[in-house]
């Protein structure tokens, strides 16, 4: 196989459960999650709150314990020391206001990973921080200011610069846009696209907003109640959604029609009570095409197209489709 087809990060059968303090109850945050991340590619995780998106991200970086295989360059991630792991994987938080230490200047915040992970000294830090601030569009003469002197969008830029500091291979971005104003959101989307081109990063981009995912992902993983219901390359997913939940989600986004103003529909699904029902399919209670077997047995993931997997009984598996790797999708993206 060509080296480029090797995934940087391979996640298979990841289960995450939180033990509740009350009566030792277990809350399942993710179950049997598998997907791959390739170089220079963005994987979008989409789902409602409670779908397990953040738990998966936390498990990848090691803030939460999970069961299952997470392979970084083919090696089990737990064999890496935590410092090595942080050198390869970095994280961008949802709320930039709380992810920057209010008492640390921008320079100090960004140089922290440089000192701890790469062992830079003062002058090296200075050069690198200036470089990074240039890359994210923060004037370098403000680098000794404290976070509260910046606007929300600027703070998120600073957080992005900190994540980029150690030249990681993968950046996990946990809803980095949802606390920002729309005009700032657009700026940050632009920045992410720009950075990916520049640094050939792999992104795992978490969002509840399909519109944002559209601009930032190559491959989309749809999560519902901790289970992957469908995963496919972006265009494939948008053109041929197979799972009823994905269809519902997509129906919420009626394409841009600027002449008639913006008309958007949002799914009517209340996902908040969607905890794993005993046995059956996660979407069973809300599904319009549910059958008897959906209630009793969990469906398995089936391949329905190139790199397109669906977890549903009502979708016919396509056994004979070519195992076309993602170059196709990539070529599509570049065109």
């Amino acid at each position: 196989m060509l080296p480029s087809t090797q995934p940087i990060l391979k996640i298979s059968g990841l289960d995450i459960a939180y033990k509740s303090r009350l009566k030792g109850l277990k809350t399942v945050a993710a179950e049997g999650v598998s997907f791959n991340v390739y170089k220079n590619e963005t994987v979008g995780l989409i789902g409602e709150s409670g779908a397990g998106k953040s738990s998966i991200a936390n498990a990848i970086i090691g803030l939460v314990e999970g069961e299952g295989d997470i392979l970084l360059h083919g090696k089990e991630i737990s064999t890496y020391s935590s410092l090595d792991r942080y050198k390869k994987i970095q994280y961008i938080f949802q709320d930039p206001t709380s992810s920057l230490d209010p008492r640390y200047s921008v320079f100090r915040s960004i140089s922290e990973p440089l000192i701890n992970l790469l062992g830079y000294d003062g002058t090296q830090c200075d050069t690198r921080v200036r470089e990074l601030l240039d890359a994210v569009g923060i004037p370098t003469n403000k680098m000794h200011n404290l976070p509260h002197e910046f606007s929300g969008g600027q703070k998120q830029r600073i957080a992005i610069a900190r994540a980029l500091a150690v030249n990681p291979e993968i950046i996990l971005a946990d809803e980095p846009l949802s606390s920002l104003d729309i005009s700032v959101q657009a700026q940050i989307i632009h920045l992410f696209q720009d950075l990916q081109k520049k640094f050939e990063l792999a992104f795992i981009f978490i969002s509840h907003d399909l519109n944002v995912i559209w601009y930032l992902s190559d491959y989309i993983v749809v999560l519902l109640g901790g289970v992957i219901v469908e995963k496919a390359p972006k265009k494939e997913l948008f053109q041929h959604p197979a799972h009823p939940y994905t269809k519902e989600l997509l129906s919420t986004v009626i394409t841009n029609d600027k002449e008639n103003g913006i008309a958007k529909k949002q799914a009517f699904i209340d996902a908040s009570d969607m905890q794993n029902p005993e046995g059956g399919c996660i979407f069973y209670t809300k599904c319009s095409i549910a059958q008897k077997e959906c209630m009793n047995n969990k469906p398995l993931s089936k391949k329905v197209g190139p790199d397109h997997w669906v977890t549903c009984y009502n979708v016919k598996a396509q056994e004979n489709c070519f195992t076309q790797r993602r170059e196709g999708a990539k070529a599509q993206r570049k065109s």
Binding site: I182, A186, N211, T255, I262, K265, F268
Partner: protein, 322 residues
């Protein structure tokens, strides 16, 4: 006559080294039975304008420098506290952004809803009956059971409904909703939005709907007011703002909304940062540092009101000239 009219309202915060302008010469009005959407970035003054209406800015450093707020013909700024109280919470009610912090965590829903009911000469049973009725109306299927639960036992969407019920109990004439959809899940917000539509259509209550989310505002409002840097920059019917924006800021804001399935992979964006009114000054157009069409007059003076059909806007270089 409009229900609520804000005229030339100018306010600011007193800082140790001068004043920070908050609202600058802001005027808008809302008619009975109308839904007015206010769109703007954080810091544009959209929340402060309605808080000023309700007199909720009790900070001692907040100054109302000039202007008037007329509600059914009475100037709210000239009224004394007693009259203001008789209007605030009775005729004008408000729904806050964060449903968890807007409810007292130690009191049941029932107690809090009873408090919201004005001291009408009703028996307790009648009051309870009314509360349950209202809860059912806003979409509580099992209102009798849920009424004695505490806020933390309800989901975010349900709490938002409780707040809405609370705001509806006094039979207000005007309901102000401050970012009611921004702290709940995207899929639930549609339900809340349709609830607001229902309130407006069935109860004929005027609504001021504040959000930074253009699509949410567009889906409920008859008219949309776009605010930037403490000023109103454009007011028009919802269709007028969306389809034929005149102000460059409105246009840029609409363009920067991400839309899945759109053909391009790059999203236009507005360069620059939110305005700092202390730097820009209150005489210039606050958008000039980020505007493509900026000329010298934009920097020296704020344009007068222009009108075009139903549209009112403030710009020297309007788009889509007819």
């Amino acid at each position: 006559m409009p229900l609520l009219t804000i005229k030339n309202l100018t306010t600011s915060f007193k800082e140790s080294d001068g004043f920070i302008p908050i609202l600058v010469d802001l005027s808008y009005s809302i008619d009975t039975g109308e839904v007015l959407g206010i769109v703007g970035e954080s810091g544009s003054g959209k929340t402060m304008s309605v808080k000023t209406v309700l007199g909720l800015c009790s900070d001692k450093d907040y100054r109302i420098q000039s202007g008037s707020i007329l509600f059914s013909g009475n100037d709210l700024l000239a009224l004394n506290g007693k009259y203001l109280r008789s209007i605030r919470g009775r005729e004008i009610t408000m729904i806050f952004q964060d449903s968890l912090s807007a409810l007292n965590p130690y009191l049941t829903i029932r107690t809090q809803l009873l408090e919201a009911l004005p001291n009408a000469n009703l028996l307790k049973e009648e009051k309870l009956h009314k509360i349950i009725e209202t809860l059912q109306w806003v979409g509580f299927a099992d209102a009798e059971d849920k009424i004695s639960s505490y806020p933390f036992e309800l989901s975010g969407g349900m709490r938002q409904r409780v707040l809405t019920a609370m705001a509806l109990l006094p039979d207000p004439k005007l309901l102000i909703a401050d970012e009611p959809t921004s702290s709940i899940d995207a899929t639930l917000s549609k339900q809340i939005l349709s609830l607001f539509k229902k309130i407006n259509e069935e109860k004929n209550i005027s609504i001021i709907f504040i959000s930074h989310n253009f699509s949410h505002v567009a889906s409920v409002s008859n008219r949309i007011l776009v605010m930037y840097g403490g000023r109103a920059v454009e007011v028009d019917t919802a269709d007028g703002v969306l389809a034929k924006p005149a102000h460059p800021y409105t246009r840029a804001l609409l363009d920067s909304i991400p839309l899945a399935g759109s053909s391009g992979t790059t999203l236009p964006f507005i360069p620059g940062d939110p305005p700092d009114l202390r730097e820009i000054g209150i005489n210039a157009c606050p958008f000039y540092p980020r505007c493509r069409f900026v000329t010298d007059e934009c920097k020296s003076s704020f344009p007068d009101k222009n009108t075009r059909n139903t549209k009112e806007f403030f710009c020297y270089h309007p788009l889509n000239p007819s």
